[in-house]
C-alpha cells in the first residue's frame, strides 16, 4: 500500500515513496541522500529487522474521554494514516505484532494531558512499536510521550487529526545515553485543524526521527517545535518533511539545538514542498544551533520546493554559531561570571521554545533536563573565548 499524498507526483530523491511493504525500502548502504548522515553501524542491527516481542514498559495516565486499545496491524493500516517512509518505519509496523490506538472521540475536549511514559530496561532490548493516535472531529487533546531508560527502539507513530480538532503532541526523548531510537512520526491534519508538536531529544546514543506532515483538507495549521542537546559522541538526527498538499494550510517549524563535547553530531533536515494545489499557504522553518565546545558538528539543511507562486509566504532560516559575545558581555558586565552567563544564554535559547509548549509540568521537567545537560559542560573548553 502506498500513501497517496506522498506519492502524488513528487519525484523527490529526498522522499522515496511511502509504503508498508518492507521490500519497497531496501537496506541502505549509507550513500543514499536520506541515510548519508546516519552512522548505520550504530543502529545495532535494526536495519536487519530481527523480530522481537519485547515491549517498553508503559505507564499511561489518561483523563476521561480517551480510549486506548490494542488493535491488529491490519486494522491499524485501515485507519488510513501516513505510510512508513523508510525501512525502519516499515519494519516497525511489520514487527510490532499489532498496534496501540489512542483515540479521542469527536467533539471530546480533554481536561488534562494524556501522559504516556515508556521505559526501556537495557540497551540490548530490541523493541518494535506501532502507535496510532486518532483525534476526532473538533476534539481537543494534549498527548505527551516520554521515553526513558534504554532500549534499541524503532516505532511508527501515525497521527490522524480530524477536521477542526486541536492537538498538542509532545515527544520527549529523555533516554539514557546508550539508547537507540529511530522511526517515523507521520501526521495528517484535517480541515481547519490545529496541531502543535514538540519534540525534545536529550538522551540516546543515536536518535534518528523522521517527522512527516500532510494535510487532509484546506485550513490546517501546524506548529512544529523541537529542541535537542547532543553531548560527546551522541548522534541526534531530525528529518522533517511538511507536504503542503492542500490550499490555505500553514506550517511553522522551529527547531533549536545545542552541542557540546567531542563527536557530538546533530542533523536537522527541513523539507517543505508546496504543491500546485496549495495556493494561499504560508510556511516558515527555522533551525538554530548553538555550538558550545570544539569538536562538534551540526548539519542543518533547509529545503523548499515550490510548485506554485500563489502563496502568502514561504521562508526558511538556518544558523549554526557559537555564543553571541555581546550577550555574554552584557551579562558579565552585571557581575555574572562567564560560565554562568553561558548557562543563562543556553537556558534562554531553549526556554524561549519550551515556553510555547503550554504544559507547565512538562516545561519544568524539560528545563530541568536542559540544566542537567549544562551541568555536564562545566570543565569543557568553551567554544567562545572572550578576548580571543
Amino acid at each position: 500500500m502506498t500513501s497517496p499524498a506522498l506519492s502524488g507526483g513528487i519525484a523527490s530523491h529526498l522522499h522515496p515513496g511511502a509504503s508498508y511493504d518492507v521490500a519497497h525500502h531496501p537496506t541502505p548502504s549509507g550513500r543514499e541522500e536520506v541515510w548519508r548522515f546516519t552512522p548505520l553501524k550504530r543502529l545495532r542491527g535494526l536495519l536487519e529487522g530481527s523480530p522481537s516481542a519485547d515491549d517498553l514498559d508503559w505507564d499511561v495516565q489518561a483523563p476521561d474521554g480517551v480510549r486506548i486499545s490494542q488493535i491488529s496491524t491490519a486494522d491499524a493500516i485501515d485507519l488510513g494514516g501516513p505510510a512508513p517512509v523508510d525501512r525502519l518505519a516499515a519494519l516497525s509496523v511489520a514487527n510490532s505484532g499489532g498496534a496501540v490506538r489512542l483515540h479521542v472521540p469527536d467533539g471530546t475536549e480533554l481536561d488534562a494531558p494524556v501522559r504516556i511514559r515508556l521505559r526501556g530496561a537495557t540497551p540490548e532490548q530490541l523493541v518494535w512499536d506501532h502507535l496510532v493516535v486518532t483525534i476526532g472531529r473538533s476534539a481537543q487533546a494534549t498527548v505527551v510521550l516520554e521515553y526513558e531508560g534504554s532500549a534499541t527502539y524503532s516505532a511508527m507513530v501515525q497521527v490522524l487529526v480530524g477536521d477542526g480538532a486541536q492537538l498538542q503532541l509532545a515527544r520527549l526523548q529523555l533516554w539514557d545515553d546508550d539508547a537507540v531510537h529511530t522511526g517515523h512520526v507521520g501526521l495528517r491534519i484535517g480541515r481547519d485543524a490545529r496541531v502543535r508538536t514538540f519534540s525534545a531529544s536529550l538522551g540516546g546514543d543515536l536518535v534518528r526521527l523522521v517527522e512527516t506532515t500532510e494535510y487532509d483538507g484546506p485550513g490546517g495549521q501546524l506548529e512544529q517545535l523541537g529542541l535537542y542537546f547532543a553531548d560527546a559522541g551522541q548522534h541526534l538526527e531530525h528529518r522533517l518533511f511538511v507536504d503542503h498538499n492542500a490550499p490555505h494550510t500553514r506550517s511553522n517549524v522551529d527547531y533549536r539545538g545545542a552541542l557540546q563535547g567531542l563527536g557530538a553530531h546533530t542533523v536537522w533536515i527541513g523539507d517543505v514542498v508546496i504543491r500546485k494545489v496549495a495556493e494561499g499557504i504560508e510556511t516558515y522553518e527555522s533551525n538554530r544551533n548553538l555550538v558550545l565546545t570544539d569538536g562538534c558538528r551540526a548539519d542543518s539543511v533547509p529545503n523548499l520546493e515550490i510548485e506554485t507562486g500563489e502563496i502568502i509566504g514561504a521562508g526558511h532560516a538556518s544558523t549554526t554559531g557559537r555564543f553571541d559575545d555581546l550577550q555574554l558581555f552584557y551579562l558579565q558586565s552585571r557581575g555574572i561570571p562567564v560560565d554562568e552567563a553561558r548557562r543563562l544564554v543556553v537556558h534562554g535559547f531553549f526556554a524561549d521554545i519550551v515556553r510555547r509548549l503550554g504544559v507547565p509540568e512538562i516545561e519544568t521537567r524539560l528545563m530541568a533536563a536542559v540544566e542537567d545537560e549544562l551541568v555536564r559542560s562545566v570543565g569543557l573548553p568553551p567554544a567562545s573565548a572572550v578576548g580571543a
Binding site: 558581555f329 551579562l331 561570571p337
Partner: protein, 263 residues
C-alpha cells in the same frame, strides 16, 4: 571615599587593515560623590572609553592604566569589574532571548552580593525599582530587552543601576531617545543613586537637556580620542552654543602634525 582613575589610556580596535587607535591618552579621575559629564562629537571615542573601562573584549588597551582605589581594573575580567563596583549603562543594551528580566536581575544581584537576595524582599525590591522607572511590573517577566522600545531599554539600564547599586556608574548616552517624561524619570534615578553621597557618575551625553536635571560637577570635552578641555557645568552651555568646531579643528591639527601614538 573611592576613586576611579584613568591614566594615559590608549585603546585600539582590530580592523581589516590592522589595529586602529581610538583612545589616544585619556586622563580622567572620578571620585565618589562626583558627577562628570563627557560630551563630544560622534566617533570621538566616548563609547570606546566606556567599554574599555567595563572590559569589552573588542577593545585592546595598548597602554595606560585604569584603577579603582589603586587596584588595577584592566587585570580583571568583565564580571570581576562589575563585582568590584563598576557599572556600565550601555548606549545599545543587548537583547538576551529567553532570559527574563527577573531571572537576570536575581542572577546579577546574587553575583554582585555574593549571596542570593532574600526572596521576600527581593520581589518587592524589583517591583519598587520598576515602579520608580515608571515601568510596568510585567517587564519582570519579559525577556531582557527583547522587544523593548529604545526608551524602555534605557529605563531598564537605570533600573539595574538602582538595584545593583555599584560604586561607579558610566552612563553611555542613557538620555538619547528618551521622551520628556522618561528623561525626567531616568534623571531622577541617577540623582537618587548620586544622592547616596559616595557614588561616582560618568555621564556621556550629546545634549545639555539632561544636564538640566543632573548637575555635573565637571564637564569634559572629548575629541579625537582624548579630553580636549574640561570645566564646570557652564562649559556645557558654551558647547551648546558654539559646538565642537574649534576643538575638532585643533584636534585634527594635532593629529596631522604626527604626534606619536603613545606619549
Amino acid at each position: 571615599m573611592a576613586t576611579l582613575d584613568i591614566r594615559d589610556l590608549h585603546v585600539s580596535v582590530q580592523t581589516e587593515d590592522g589595529a586602529k587607535e581610538i583612545l589616544r591618552g585619556v586622563d580622567l579621575t572620578v571620585r565618589s560623590g562626583e558627577t562628570h559629564a563627557i560630551m563630544g562629537p560622534n566617533g570621538s571615542g566616548k563609547s570606546t572609553l566606556a567599554y574599555s573601562v567595563a572590559g569589552h573584549p573588542k577593545y585592546q588597551v595598548t597602554s595606560g592604566s585604569v584603577t579603582l582605589d589603586g587596584v588595577d581594573v584592566l587585570d580583571m575580567t568583565v564580571d570581576e569589574r562589575a563585582r568590584a563596583g563598576l557599572f556600565l549603562a550601555m548606549q545599545y543594551p543587548v537583547e538576551v532571548p529567553g532570559v527574563s528580566v527577573s531571572n537576570f536581575l536575581r542572577t546579577a544581584k546574587t553575583a554582585i552580593d555574593g549571596e542570593a537576595p532574600k526572596l521576600r524582599t527581593w520581589i518587592k525590591d524589583v517591583n519598587t525599582a520598576l515602579d520608580k522607572m515608571s515601568m510596568d511590573r510585567d517587564f519582570a517577566q519579559r525577556n531582557v530587552n527583547e522587544g523593548f522600545s529604545g526608551g524602555e531599554k534605557k529605563r531598564n539600564e537605570i533600573m539595574q543601576l538602582e538595584l545593583l547599586n555599584p560604586r561607579f556608574a558610566i552612563l553611555d548616552e542613557t538620555d538619547s531617545g528618551l521622551d520628556i517624561d522618561a528623561l525626567r524619570v531616568v534623571s531622577e534615578g541617577v540623582n537618587r543613586f548620586s544622592a547616596q553621597g559616595d557614588r561616582g557618575v560618568l555621564l556621556i551625553t550629546h545634549y545639555t537637556r539632561i544636564l538640566r536635571y543632573i548637575t555635573p560637577d565637571y564637564v569634559h570635552v572629548f575629541v579625537a580620542g582624548r579630553i580636549a578641555e574640561q570645566g564646570g557645568a557652564e562649559l556645557a552651555e558654551r558647547l551648546e552654543a558654539e559646538g565642537y568646531d574649534r576643538y575638532v579643528r585643533a584636534g585634527s591639527g594635532a593629529v596631522a602634525v604626527g604626534e606619536p601614538a603613545s606619549s
